[in-house]
Symmetry: C3
């Protein structure tokens, strides 16, 4: 990126003085005002490749070095840099959030179908992924819907008793839907008084939101800015684990915590400033010397000599064979990113039965599992020999089996509590003993599996690991044993 | 800072060879010994601007680029760099910690009134803030005093029963007062035998301490080194969130944890090495492209073109309209940094009543709240449009209301426990059920509010968030229900 | 390291084109294949000093600047760089993991006796340390062995009751032995089919593992790669706290969490990119301006002028006088790194009795304690004056006393529970009340002591600190009081 840094170093910092890359007349008009009103936003864009390179120039690179995946661009876009107007005016007829803004027709948001104009392969991969369906997978699934509502419901005391009074959209947007995405719809207009007079803009529901499964005013799913934030669209940012950690952290999915304490995380933190974060393709050993999330789950990788190690994918489950977190039991990855269509043996929209049996027809088969694991092992073997890799994955398989057994034990205790009337199964997620049961799989088993998968020995032990898993299983039993057997709640 | 790095690169690294910036004779004498005895300390100073720039030179900058806020300096200070003697000899008559040290009269500590000689605006702002009163706000308030003592009290077993035997000054200094500050007083002298013979020095209580509200031997309040650590006095360090995180972390105030998982934190961690951490004023978008704590709460900000975005303040509450953490209920910011003067409806030194009503006469009014929120929104609008900003703050307002309702519910349950004699209200902070109640507001509600304010979806959900808030509220009820109604503790 | 960076910048990135440093014929043959099969591994090595410097060149440095601690090298090693064959062929007769690999006799692993060829002082220091004995200290001690098994045991439900069914080697490798090390033994061979035909390799138990006390196929103890990871062997990595944090984190030993929130951690995070991570010796104030783990516990330190501050040690307990974590009570450091030989007053292999009295004959005496504390204080005084340092250590001594009293109180409550038959002492680590007792010392008291030792006020307060220590002690009492006195489990 030396040329870019150099360009900015010598260039004056204000937009007015920008020279060189061709900017469309429309974008220049945007910049004339917005560099005053939103200087941070405009500077962000000025540090992006979008402000430096035209699509025509982007195509001049060798195929493997390109960041665009189309070879054809709409008339008028090819020879100007990718500015405000180029993105915020696309597909206007589909955008319920399009509005008249000083005689320009502008979309408030930019959605995957807009990005698709230059990046079709990435949008297509993403669109079929679990991430793109992350909102519907919670909302359209009555089990998960109940879980979300139970966790976020306000309560009040009436006659000495706690009464849940319901969960609000805003709190869901602040919690679960903060990562999963919200439904952004246009519900009228609002008028803002500005220095330039009144401005009428669309009024949006559940906004702002940058969750990965956001439903946009054009009906599309996904928010590219979840991982390519703001207007710098930096590949460096997307490749660094801080991006993924925005959501993949905490007791329910401590991938970040595991990475941090792993050898890989150590090397990343200790040496990342010496690595090349911008080169496409990303060369193993030369550009980086320990994997980040993107290395294993997304990036186009080659050897320093140019041999392909792994093709790029924006379906972040495409290299995964088993699903380790989020649900009571592990299971093969689902065939479709839309998991709300799954039905288990009991007719519930869950990928396993209550006792662990997988809903196989909705899940990838053993052959596909083996293929995907082979891709991942191939990545590992860039740095590790086969003994090492095989031993590591054998250990993970063992962890999967043991944690599933522990979930089974907790579930059987939970069933005893339900059967004895110590808790009410009609909502399985709201009572204290049910929360303990949830923590067994949602926190502890997940944590152990992620720790096993990525080498985080604390996260498997004392940090929401085996210590908690065995302690709280005994506490579940102690709680059950301390209640009269015939009690009803 | 290239010139400084360059200077040190070419300069020999030992003090003896230092040339260039004029050093006072007294400071040179200090350096002659202390560069041998405390090489790390002296090197720290050598990397500071204090060792490079005289006050006269500092004044040569344009007003907005200055780091000094006075235009007049005492005789003798103006044309030498700011060395050991310049700081450690000021206001000697006020300093109970002044002592004769090889014929120099030296203060052990440097306190805000000393820093005030060159930085009067900063000291004045700080002196009225909650930070400056952080020790008294705990110690002079019997409610908080009881809380501190209960949390840190040693216990022993006598006749099979736990007996609290009191909290020590040293443990308080290690815990609460580690951030809030300790009272440093001179209580005699001690004699140290050194290579240069016996040295008699003041004996200080509760030392060392760098808490923000430290009471110094000159009677002043505050420790500038809390945020401008050691002798490098680096603006870079103060601007980075690691400084604030020293205290603003953990379950009681997880501001750091929220920042880390936020989009802002991602951008900071991913890109900070490319930003300019030293420029004054700090230019939005040009010097940095995502806010740190200092951006929102302290720094002088301008646009790249020099338009003022926000003036500098060292009262870190000056841009805040509502107080989100540390107390059961949210409430408007207090008018005075000394919150021990507040009296609520029930006569207690708390900003709200037990049921949430604010002690309004001690708190800023709605107009001042709106003004301050306007300042903060103005900051946000450097990068975000008004829709985004308004939506974000609406969500925060909603979170405030919901978490206050949840605190109200927990408090009503607590009251039931007290009323039934299941716990003893005379100390409301020492029994297990009372600790559960505390965690509802001190940990979970705080965490959710900070997560909502700064965009940390995990901290609002599973990491001391709504999951805990709703789980433990039910557990409070379960505990109460499982006790005989007439039991007395 | 500028010369190294420069070398690589101008050099082509593939092995084939490497020129300059003399590479042995054998290593060149290794590289010819492995640069294709393991490009990341080979690139890692290419970024190491091992690939750049011959032992003869390493000896040309002044003694204090050397990274090798021998002056004599075996024939043939002195004038080639330290490549694949040089390390993986050493001491072949001792290596049960030696195998015939395309006519080379290669050891799968490199063990301390191999590293000892060039680094004898380091290996000797390490070999006597607790780290080298970390596996045996768990496995050969029946108390700790029981603890490990209890924490990691799978359980099943039979007839409505939880039945522990035992802990597996693989889960222990994933948890406790992930840091402590596993026993790696050769148990036959396995045949891998590769592009170059079948390859027969040794079959290893408990592999991969990089725990500090790993027992290797040559019978030696330790894994240098635990802290000098992979093939870059970077002193920068070992000096950064991310390396130590791989194990010294989490509720049982939150050294990393404390460092992060300490002033030292703040300075490290804020300024580390400006520091010199490669210079030997490491110059206080010039190369770094706040300590990392390595500064206090390992590195050779001098002043900028070359005065010795502390000699290098690879026995990481050598500068420690008291043991703060891992056991119920603090106690003087053990004389031997093999702590399984200790017997307390009651004949148990623990360094204190159940009531806290030390097993003095196995522990260093007061004089040695004072000597070691003197070394550590000397380090601190590079930057802090004596008042500061003495005050800090007095506070730590006080913390040690108070937390030991709190452990004593918890242990007495535990004894009451055992005496009343509320829990079964035959395994003191498996029941919920026993886990509560464990957390009192293993989590909370440890956390407080580490926070006190290194200045982490949150880790002493609300983050597994005094808040938890006093809350859960009361909860232990509440639990006991709520049980019928004659109950047997």
């Amino acid at each position: 990126m030396a040329w870019l840094v150099s360009w900015f170093f010598h260039a004056p910092d204000t937009v007015a003085a920008t020279a060189g890359p061709p900017i469309s007349k429309q974008t220049q008009e945007c910049l004339n005002c917005h560099s005053q009103f939103h200087p941070g936003l405009v500077q962000d864009w000025m540090h992006s490749l979008h402000s430096q390179v035209t699509p025509a120039q982007a195509l001049n690179k060798k195929p493997r070095e390109r960041r665009v995946s189309t070879e054809t661009f709409p008339e008028g876009l090819k020879d100007v840099v990718v500015g405000c107007f180029e993105c915020h005016s696309l597909n206007a007829t589909n955008h319920a959030d399009n509005f008249d803004h000083f005689d320009f027709h502008i979309n408030v948001g930019v959605s995957p179908p807009d990005c698709q104009v230059c990046h079709p392969a990435e949008v297509q991969e993403y669109s079929g992924s679990k991430k793109a369906h992350a909102l519907g997978n919670l909302q359209k699934n009555p089990v998960f819907h109940t879980m979300v509502d139970s966790i976020t419901s306000v309560a009040e005391i009436k006659d000495g008793k706690l009464i849940p009074v319901g969960a609000s959209d805003q709190t869901k947007n602040d919690t679960c839907f903060g990562c999963h995405g919200s439904r952004v719809e246009v519900v009228g207009t609002r008028t803002l008084s500005t220095d330039l007079g009144d401005v009428v803009v669309p009024k949006l529901t559940n906004w702002p939101n940058q969750g990965v499964g956001r439903v946009n005013p054009d009906g599309s799913r996904g928010a590219c800015t979840a991982c390519h934030p703001r207007h710098e669209f930096s590949i460096e940012v997307a490749r660094k684990p801080f991006t993924c950690s925005q959501c993949h952290m905490g007791p329910d999915v401590p991938a970040w915590e595991v990475f941090e304490e792993s050898k890989h995380g150590n090397l990343f933190h200790s040496k990342e400033r010496d690595w090349n974060w911008d080169h496409v393709p990303w060369r193993v050993g030369q550009d980086f010397r320990a994997p980040t999330c993107a290395v294993c789950h997304c990036s186009l990788l080659t050897s320093p000599e140019g041999d392909l190690v792994a093709p790029r994918t924006h379906d972040f489950g495409a290299r995964l064979w088993v699903r380790l977190f989020g649900l009571p039991y592990t299971h093969p990855q689902p065939k479709s990113g839309d998991t709300s269509i799954i039905r288990n043996r009991d007719g519930l929209p869950l990928p396993t039965a209550f006792t662990g049996e997988p809903a196989s027809e909705f899940l990838i088969d053993a052959k596909e599992q083996a293929r995907r694991q082979g891709v991942m092992k191939g990545l590992c073997r860039s740095c590790h020999n086969r003994d090492w890799v095989d031993g590591h994955f054998d250990k993970l398989d063992h962890t999967i089996r043991e944690t599933d057994r522990m979930t089974r034990a907790a579930t059987e205790l939970m069933q005893i509590a339900w059967d004895r009337g110590l808790a009410d199964k009609s909502n399985p997620f709201d009572e204290p003993i049910e929360r303990r049961w949830m923590k067994q799989w949602l926190f502890y088993a997940n944590s152990i599996r992620l720790g096993s998968a990525m080498g985080g020995p604390d996260q498997t032990s004392f940090q929401t690991g085996w210590f908690d898993l065995t302690t709280h299983l005994r506490e579940m039993q102690e709680w059950i044993d301390s209640r009269p057997k015939s009690q009803r709640p």
